[in-house]
């Protein structure tokens, strides 16, 4: 006989009676049978005692666990609840900004776009360099301007005159000068640059150096690079 075998009716009914699983009518019938059968009543008493013993033995086992161990477990439960509560609140925070949503939408195209932009930048630089025969010429502008004769240069001294480079560092429109750091004569070591048909000037302020490069044919076009 194994667990899958159907029980004899008498055994099944007695057990169901003991476990309170019979309806009232069936329970009354079993109770009547028990009245006239002391052996069956003894069997029922054995089942009842075993239930009490199992309960009591496990209660005693639980008393062996120190209170501090349960406190430790509560602390862990408390921390988990706290984490759950925080993560439940998180989705209710402010919705993502428009830029964040656009960035998210474009995320799949980010790598191809970056690659295309990089390739375009390389191509532009290559085209410009190939059309500039003077590109390898010595940087004739990379020298300090001569101080005016008769005395050392001072911060307030006027910019050197007659220098080709100085002449070409024509100031940008006033509106742009207002937003960009301008070179101070005492700070700047190199005042201008010239290469590939373009001219430029260098502004050096503290730790920031800015290169201004102007197109010869279009003085309004200007690029800058911080070093």
């Amino acid at each position: 006989m194994n667990d899958e075998t159907e029980l004899p009716k008498a055994d099944a009914e007695l057990q169901a009676y003991f476990d309170g699983e019979l309806d009232a009518a069936a329970a009354q019938e079993v109770a009547r049978t028990l009245d006239g059968d002391p052996a069956l009543r003894g069997h029922l008493a054995g089942m009842s005692l075993m239930r009490d013993l199992v309960n009591r033995s496990l209660e005693m086992k639980a008393l062996e666990v120190p209170r501090a161990r349960f406190e430790q477990i509560w602390d862990e439960i408390d921390r988990t609840i706290e984490r759950d509560t925080r993560s439940a609140r998180a989705p209710q925070a402010a919705p993502a900004s428009l830029w964040a949503r656009i960035a998210t939408a474009l995320r799949p195209f980010r790598a191809p776009l970056l690659a295309a932009a990089g390739a375009a930048a390389v191509a532009i630089v290559a085209v410009r360099l190939s059309g500039s025969p003077e590109v390898n010429q010595a940087p004739e502008v990379a020298s300090l301007p001569e101080p005016p004769a008769g005395g050392p240069a001072s911060p307030d001294a006027p910019a050197p005159q007659g220098s080709k480079v100085a002449d070409r560092t024509t100031p940008a429109p006033a509106s742009e000068d207002a937003t960009l750091p301008q070179p101070r004569p005492a700070d700047a070591e190199i005042h201008g640059i010239e290469f590939g048909g373009k001219t430029g000037r260098i502004s050096h302020t503290g730790t920031v150096t800015v290169l201004y490069v102007e197109e010869e044919d279009d003085s309004q076009k200007k690029s800058e690079r911080s070093l």
């Binding site: 069997h43 089942m47 086992k61 477990i73 509560w74």
Partner: protein
């Protein structure tokens, strides 16, 4: 089986409103009972404590869905039983054996009355449940039951789950549960009888000591 505490319902309602202290009270009320059940299933202190922790975390997560159709402790015990059964299944899978009855003996071919636990062996039933040696024999007998037989014994005798709830937890029919419980009880009585026959008569002092220990919360 303890009667459900009348305050459980109000504590559950307070928990639903986010009262963490109410939940702590529920934990403190049931921590040892849940542990006893889990230990009955798993026979390992650390595994049983893990189940206590897991069970209360689960209870807190699902509390908003608890509608109170059954008592809180029945619901809690169902969660604990499911966790223990999952735990046993996971472990037996690791050991490459089944959660099965055939692992341990099932030699209960005799008729029911012959297998009954003779109450005469235990003397006064009231004293028997306070006798350390008898309780140790019960523990030892539980250890030798198969996982499935121990599970049905714990679910029925300790947790008081209905046949329907047990069938749901063990993923089998109600008929299988009835049959399994019948054989589990007979095996348990047989194992216990074997151990009790070798027990010395308990002294009055030993019984008094146990009663004193039991009085300490």
């Amino acid at each position: 089986m303890d009667a459900p505490d009348p305050d459980d319902h109000s504590l559950v309602e307070a928990c639903k409103r986010g009262d963490r202290r109410a939940f702590q009270l529920l934990f403190e009320r049931y921590e040892r009972k849940v542990y006893a059940v889990a230990y009955g299933f798993l026979r390992s202190q650390e595994d049983a404590l893990d189940v206590v922790q897991e069970a209360f975390i689960k209870v807190h997560r699902y509390l908003p869905n608890f509608e109170g159709q059954s008592s809180f402790y029945t619901w809690l015990y169902r969660i604990v039983a499911n966790l223990c059964i999952d735990h046993i299944r996971r472990n037996t899978r690791k050991k490459d054996v089944e959660f099965d009855d055939k692992l341990r003996h099932d030699g209960d071919q005799d008729s029911a009355p012959a297998e009954s636990l003779p109450t005469s062996l235990l003397g006064n039933p009231g004293e028997a449940v306070e006798n350390k040696e008898i309780l140790a024999a019960v523990q030892d007998s539980l250890k030798y039951l198969s996982d499935k037989h121990r599970a049905v014994i714990i679910m029925r005798e300790l947790q008081g789950l209905s046949y329907a709830d047990m069938a749901k937890a063990m993923n089998c029919s109600k008929g299988t549960i009835m049959s399994r419980l019948f054989h589990a009880r007979r095996n348990m009585q047989k194992l216990l009888r074997e151990r009790l026959e070798n027990l010395p008569e308990p002294s009055d002092d030993a019984v008094a000591d146990l009663q004193q220990e039991a009085a300490v919360p």
